[in-house]
């Protein structure tokens, strides 16, 4: 995935602006590189919000079409990513409201492939359960911020733009979330260090 961390170098901004210009000029194919570049981070945001693959895919598709429909309002002197992730986020919140039943479902756990040893498998399973439990106990905003920052590579500024928060506030939530997770997961640190 193209790392979303940071606001993006200037040439990325210029390249995205040129693509947007071409799309607005009627060249729909120029939208394809934007889709390729922002698909994975957008999917991650969508999945964090909806906890369901199919819903996340639907949301990403809808968000790209919304971005296309609102392309004229996009400020081309600014990076495309945060503007687009904000669309994913806001539409995701709306979609989640309409799929309220999903909000109560537990996080979808997916083990990494390659676990051949059954005992290691059981241990990983215990660990996964504990991590899931620790995550589930976090207030939602803290959980989402920790996941977006530590797993998906978004910067504090990008998360702030998505959630409509000051970057300093995002870092505060991140700090709180990390601290709570560390307390819960401290017993597993040794196991992780060994494995």
């Amino acid at each position: 995935m193209s790392s979303p961390r940071g606001a993006g170098p200037r040439d990325d901004i210029a390249a995205d602006a040129a693509l947007v210009e071409r799309v607005l000029g009627g060249d729909a194919e120029a939208f394809a590189p934007l889709v390729r570049r922002y698909l994975q981070p957008a999917y991650n945001v969508a999945y964090r919000l909806l906890s369901n693959r199919q819903d996340a895919e639907d949301l990403v598709q809808e968000a790209f079409l919304t971005a296309l429909a609102n392309l004229r309002s996009f400020d081309r002197s600014r990076p495309f990513g945060p503007w687009f992730y904000r669309i994913v986020w806001t539409r995701g919140l709306n979609l989640r409201k309409s799929l309220a039943r999903r909000a109560a479902e537990p996080l979808e756990a997916e083990r990494h492939p390659g676990a051949a040893d059954p005992s290691a498998d059981a241990e990983r399973s215990d660990l996964a359960e504990t991590v899931l439990g620790a995550l589930a106990e976090l207030p939602e905003r803290q959980r989402l911020i920790v996941q977006l920052f530590d797993l998906d590579g978004f910067s504090g500024a990008e998360i702030g733009e998505m959630l409509g928060l000051n970057p300093g506030t995002v870092r505060w939530y991140l700090h709180q979330g990390r601290r709570a997770l560390r307390e819960r997961l401290a017993p597993f640190q040794e196991a992780l260090d060994e494995g």
Binding site: G25, F31, L181
Partner: protein
């Protein structure tokens, strides 16, 4: 597992926490899923692009505004010129025509002739005057 606690810049990534969270994280889209989703999005984009990227009426209006303004100014100037010209002609035509010597002689010869007076005064009434011998 450390945190520098500074709020003015992002904290450094925590590799241990990342590994723990990675155990329950959904892996990124696979290549096949990615291609499929990308194809679905671009197909929808193709259907919507023509409609979505077509300029709105106000954009078309804005595009033609300078030409329309210039045409409007030209029309005002032209109609002003035409009005001014016709008024000048009308005032010139309203002035009394100088009497020629021949006309003066005719008037002297037929004093009190109503038809002649009517013709000279420009009265275009069709009313017939009674004929009187000079």
């Amino acid at each position: 597992m450390r945190d520098d606690g500074a709020w003015d810049r992002d904290p450094v990534p925590d590799p241990v926490l990342q590994r723990l969270l990675g155990r329950v994280s959904v892996p990124p889209l696979g290549e096949r899923d990615r291609s499929r989703l990308e194809g679905a999005i671009m197909s929808a984009v193709g259907r919507e692009a023509a409609r979505i990227t077509a300029p709105a009426w106000w954009e078309i209006a804005a595009r033609w505004a300078p030409a329309a303004a210039a045409a409007g100014v030209a029309a005002v100037l032209l109609s002003g010129l035409v009005l001014f010209g016709s008024r000048f002609q009308a005032s010139a035509a309203g002035e009394a025509a100088p009497e020629t010597a021949a006309v003066a002689q005719v008037i002297d010869r037929y004093p009190g002739d109503a038809v002649l007076a009517s013709l000279i005064s420009g009265d275009d009434s069709d009313a017939l005057s009674p004929w009187r011998e000079p």
